[in-house]
């Protein structure tokens, strides 16, 4: 009978807290959006599922072995920890001892003692939770976003960009959304609404880059505690691009501007496409070493694609490899959706700032296109400016769709692909600057 009680006391129903319940509900909404509304399902489905797993009470799937040992501290482990930490446990009550040790570990500065505590926890039979393991291998190592970026590179055709390199300026302008949002985040902190430090503000800003792997990579370095909220915001808003962008685009352009027909893109030779990723890498080498992991892997993927001599590698990078990594990246991001990290006023701040970032990026892209139109002989339809935020290929499709509304003969898709992929490079550059400046 004791054992039945044990089973009951170990059950989720007995231990479920309200915040965990809320988080599970939120994750179900993410799953609904992914499946029924097709909101970036490749990421949001595993993220939502991982979020549910992370919030299962008592399962501790998102905890390290040490965290688990502290959260369910038995007397023997408590004794060993106290000995290693050099503290004495006076209290008779186990819970008080547990809190004393938890506080001591939190305040611990000596990494050698920390390593020893981990060894003790492992020796006492505690193991890393499944999601914690996935997180450590995929995100904490930095590998997963980079591998995905390589796959994205292998899927990207820079032809439209090479045919019209000036569209790179549109990709540059749209990054204003990133930095303006940083300013917004520090402003909110200055007003006392929320409490972000500069690293957190930068990580939030990168949502405006509208590029999932970049956002995850940057926040895993600058503010891992916000990674869950930032990734969810980035992917959700990328899915919402068809709702967010059109009103801004219409507000900033006249019907005539939206009807501008662009001259057909020149054909781009294979040689140009092969040399382009090497040229980008060269500029990274010379000017922004801190962007080397992101842009390096991106250019490697693109070179594998365009060189035409390593079809097998390019094919694997675009399929088996990127799919595998996507599953575990999604689950790992989900592991950061635990209630005590996500259910904070900061998350509301992140979600609000994120959509502002998208809006500003869109607006700046459009305005830049209008500006360029003044100085350029070749006409540029300002609608392709909004594609500079990235969100490949959704933003380019939006440009095309809004363009067709004004002029049914005006197919902007290929023209918008230029700023679209320029936006990917632009936000990787912005990411490199932030990492260099703050990392």
């Amino acid at each position: 009978m004791d054992k039945v009680l044990l089973l009951w006391e170990g059950s989720g129903l007995y231990n479920l807290t309200l915040p965990q319940f809320i988080m599970i509900a939120i994750c179900l909404v993410l799953l609904y959006l992914a499946i029924a509304k097709k909101f970036e399902p490749l990421l949001l489905l595993p993220i939502g599922f991982g979020g549910i797993l992370a919030n299962i009470p008592e399962a501790g799937l998102a905890l390290s072995a040490l965290d688990q040992a502290i959260s369910v501290l038995n007397p023997e482990t408590a004794r060993l920890f106290a000995q290693e930490l050099g503290i004495t446990l006076q209290s008779a009550a186990e819970e008080e001892n547990r809190l004393a040790i938890k506080a001591a570990v939190k305040g611990l500065e000596d990494p050698v003692i920390y390593k020893n505590l981990k060894a003790i926890a492992a020796a006492q039979g505690y193991t890393d939770g499944m999601l914690y393991t996935f997180y450590k291998v995929t995100i904490a190592s930095g590998a997963a976003p980079l591998i995905i970026f390589m796959g994205v590179g292998a899927m990207t055709d820079f032809g439209p960009l090479l045919a019209n390199p000036r569209t790179l300026f549109l990709g540059a302008a749209a990054q204003f959304g990133i930095f303006a949002t940083v300013l917004g985040a520090v402003g909110l902190s200055a007003l006392g609404v929320v409490d972000f430090n500069i690293n957190q503000a930068a990580a939030i800003g990168i949502i405006g880059g509208a590029d999932g792997p970049t956002a995850i990579y940057v926040s895993s370095i600058l503010a891992p505690e916000l990674l869950g909220a930032i990734a969810v915001a980035a992917y959700s808003y990328m899915a919402l691009v068809p709702l967010i962008q059109p009103p801004i685009m219409r507000a900033l352009t006249s019907k005539e501007e939206r009807s501008i027909q662009m001259s057909q893109l020149r054909p781009v030779s294979k040689k140009e496409k092969i040399i382009f990723p090497i040229a980008v890498l060269g500029l990274v080498v010379l000017f922004l070493p801190s962007a080397a992991p992101l842009l390096g892997m991106f250019c490697l993927g693109n070179l594998m694609r365009e060189s035409g001599v390593v079809e097998r590698l390019s094919d694997t990078a675009q399929n088996a490899l990127i799919n595998t990594v996507t599953i575990f990246l999604g689950l790992s991001v989900g592991s950061k959706l635990v209630a005590d990290l996500f259910l904070t006023v900061e998350t509301l701040g992140i979600l609000s700032l994120g959509i502002v970032a998208f809006g500003i990026g869109t607006a700046c892209g459009v305005l830049m296109a209008k500006l360029m139109n003044r100085f350029s002989k070749m006409p540029i339809n300002p609608l392709i400016g909004s594609a500079g935020v990235s969100a490949v290929p959704m933003a380019a499709r939006v440009s095309n769709k809004v363009g067709l509304e004004s002029n049914p003969q005006n197919f902007l898709l290929m023209h918008a692909m230029g700023p679209n992929v320029a936006g990917v490079i632009g936000s990787a550059v912005a990411a490199g600057i932030m990492i260099m400046y703050l990392g």
């Binding site: 960009l161 090479l162 390199p165 000036r166 790179l168 300026f169 990709g171 540059a172 990054q175 204003f176 990133i178 930095f179 303006a180 940083v182 300013l183 985040a185 520090v186 402003g187 902190s189 200055a190 430090n197 500069i198 503000a201 930068a202 054909p267 781009v268 030779s269 294979k270 040689k271 140009e272 040399i275 382009f276 040229a279 980008v280 060269g282 500029l283 000017f287 922004l288 035409g308 079809e311 097998r312 094919d315 320029a422 490079i425 632009g426 550059v429 912005a430 600057i433 932030m434 400046y437 703050l438």
Partner: protein, 85 residues
């Protein structure tokens, strides 16, 4: 004292960041334009892109195609055979 610092840092990041993004992408525009021009000048290849593309598409599925063609031949053979009867 901390708030003003934070905002200053944010402003610094904004100016530095946008400045550098524009510098970097401008350099890229220049580099790309020069690269394209010199390639098209030194290696003028009017017809290359098309076969390159076709080559790529044809690279992997060769084996598959042979299977497909075998299957088709079989089907057509069967079809002719049946038509005769």
């Amino acid at each position: 004292m901390q708030e003003p610092d934070l905002i200053t840092e944010g402003l610094n990041l904004l100016i530095l960041g946008m400045g550098f993004v524009f510098v970097f992408l401008t350099l890229l525009v220049v580099a790309t334009t020069l690269m394209s021009k010199s390639i098209n000048h030194f290696f003028p290849e009017a017809e290359e892109p098309a076969p390159a593309k076709a080559g790529k598409a044809a690279a992997l599925p060769t084996e598959q195609n042979s299977e497909v063609i075998a299957a088709i031949s079989a089907a057509i053979h069967l079809h002719r055979h049946r038509n005769k009867n």
